[in-house]
Subunit: 395 residues, 2 copies
């Protein structure tokens, strides 16, 4: 399989577009959708665009640093991932139409993402869980964040967080300690070195995981950017665990965003006297979050969401162990990122078409296959197994 | 007001009936309801009753200690309260028909109650809250139980519990410390002196509160009696707070019973590593209990039940203070119990339809409006405000 990569022209256009408006730029995003990135970039540069797009872009329209941004990123070991790349994640934010209709401007998808690190973005978001919380965390909170992140990472579930002090840092470190993938999503450029005390941590994260930002190099951190960044943490993951949070906190903002985006929101309880648990308790109490009292609770809760989105039976905690030879061959013919028709699966698996048609819905009920627009796909949690077996622990 | 007191004949009959069958005696209770206590007692004594009633009463039918039970109680400063007394509490258990229909035999109302203490039973149950939990409580749990009970008692809300070691004892003590009413409901006779270490506590409770039991003097404690007793704790109170509970525990049984009886069930969270909080966390996670993180949460939750029963609106969690004039007009056009279309809201509020469509999702995000099947509704937590303002703290 050859990797799909965007044209250099497209990357250049999106590099320009990403800097020309402060995210989230809803009108610009819609404009790009209509005209495509290359033409949209040209029209914005010329000022030939609707009022709303002009409003978003007028301050920086003439500032074309697309080439130098890309060059600087390359010098710094970073890259720009664009929706036209194979690596672009199946975007889990609300469908565009819904975003516009519901007036949820704050939840626009990113135009592109600056990324540092060797992990593939589409793989890193698979089964990813956000673990976030207060900067002024307690020892209990940091310990809990580390433990949960460690356990998730051990189970090949990437841990996303915001690289802040306190809970965020503990989460990243827990995932790193387990040798798993962790991703830090920043509210500033990848070179901002923020927070200062986490420079080493961020470097380490990039070695095996990812450091991600919507902001071009040179963008300083700012309060509003953290809030905008929170939607990426929420949107790129299957669910968000708030470990500790005061009654008003950024972590709660991420959680609220996750809820709006249809993601599962979880909160860890703590002693009722602790102000750092008060936000978590409030969220649970108001049914804005599900209580998670253990790693198992987190995994179960995230799994539940999967199946509720699919509108069907529970998620595949299970392995393919119980499958017959035929079902296993059909399962083995499925792919994660491309749908296949029953006919293609027949050709690939050697299983007769009428049996393929019978087996696929069974795999679907078992949470092992998914009906997608372009045909049948492997469910993201499961993976192909060989009839020879092995891997009895599922995964 | 002259106090209604049952005829001595009725009290005698119920004294007999209370000992003749092990509670909860569903068939006997139904039989009493049909024939009245005096005739029912005579028929049971003569064995002239249906098979089901015979089955419940055959072992003790001929044992008539009604008079001596009443005499012994009097000698010990106790009394038998019967449904025919003015002091009998408006019984909060499920209506009798429902109990039979739903086959909820375990939830039958008591035939009468042995009571020691000067408080009136009907007054003691008013706004009463059960505070229960594990015997093997932690310091955190006991401290929390004491604090909550203290706060409730201070606010004239009687605290019910089971007089066990651990959480129960802490709850009684907290209420006593505040000079409030507390009631201990026992799974044995009032003279059983159980648990031994709480003899002094029980004596103290009876001085200002109540010690209550379905069991005649001389009845020893037994495991099944504690479970039967739990329905009285749940049934006599407005809500039950579980402070600490293991995954399997008697406190959870009380809570489950409270849920079945339509009472509010609350649980206090704790550190996730504590096995004594695991039962509470599980109940919250499974939506079997509402998280309470403070005394204020308990009062609010019990109050909510009141208002939801009464069909009134609870008080607003979030004020509408921050809303603009337009949003306030849209908000003011919403109703709690009937959905409205955007068109109707436009007519009502005078706000243009496109703005109504934009504002509604914002109100939803703020938790002030809810999308229902029949249109947009006021979120039950909020309430209409006048643009004139006022009440800035919410309430």
């Amino acid at each position: 399989m050859t990797e799909r990569r965007a044209d250099p022209e497209i990357r250049l256009a999106r590099s320009y577009l990403l800097r020309v408006a402060e995210p989230p730029a809803m009108a610009l995003t819609a404009f790009i959708r209509v005209y495509g990135p290359v033409r949209a970039a040209r029209l914005v540069r010329e000022g030939e665009c609707p009022e709303a797009v002009l409003a978003e872009t007028s301050a920086r329209r003439t500032l074309d640093r697309a080439k130098s941004d890309l060059a600087e990123a390359e010098r710094n070991g970073a890259r720009l991932v664009v929706p036209e790349d194979g690596e672009w994640p199946a975007w889990p934010l609300l469908p565009f139409d819904q975003v516009t209709q519901r007036g949820l401007r704050g939840f626009a998808p990113p135009i592109a993402l600056w990324v540092r690190g060797d992990a593939r973005l589409d793989e890193a978001v698979m089964s990813a869980v956000a673990v976030v919380g207060a900067r002024a965390a307690t020892g209990y909170g940091e310990h809990t964040a580390t433990e949960i992140a460690y356990g998730l990472a051990q189970r090949q579930m990437p841990v996303f967080s915001g690289a802040a002090y306190g809970i965020d840092g503990a989460a990243h470190r827990g995932a790193l300690a387990a040798g798993g993938v962790t991703a830090a999503v920043l509210g500033c450029g990848l070179d901002a070195g923020y927070p200062a005390g986490h420079a080493g941590l961020l470097k380490k994260i990039a070695e095996t995981g990812l450091v991600i930002s919507e902001y071009p190099f040179g963008t300083p951190p700012a309060r509003h950017r953290f809030l905008v960044r929170n939607r990426l943490i929420a949107g790129l993951t299957e669910g968000t665990v708030v470990v500790e949070a005061g009654v008003r906190s950024g972590a709660r903002n991420t959680a609220t965003t996750a809820g709006v985006l249809g993601k599962v929101v979880m909160a860890v309880p703590g002693p009722i006297g602790s102000s750092m648990s008060a936000g978590c308790h409030q969220m649970i109490r108001e049914s804005a979050a599900t209580l998670v009292g253990s790693l198992a609770d987190v995994i179960e809760t995230v799994g539940k969401l999967d199946s509720s989105l699919a509108g069907r039976t529970p998620r595949p905690r299970r392995s393919t162990d119980g499958l017959g030879e035929e079902a296993m061959r059909v399962h083995g013919a499925l792919e994660l990122r491309a749908g296949r028709s029953a006919e293609q699966i027949t050709t690939e698996s050697g299983v007769p078409i009428h049996r393929v048609r019978a087996v696929l819905p069974e795999l679907e009920l078992d949470g092992l296959a998914t009906r997608a627009e372009d045909g049948w796909r492997l469910t993201s949690r499961s993976r192909p197994v060989t009839p020879a077996g092995g891997g009895h622990q599922g995964q």
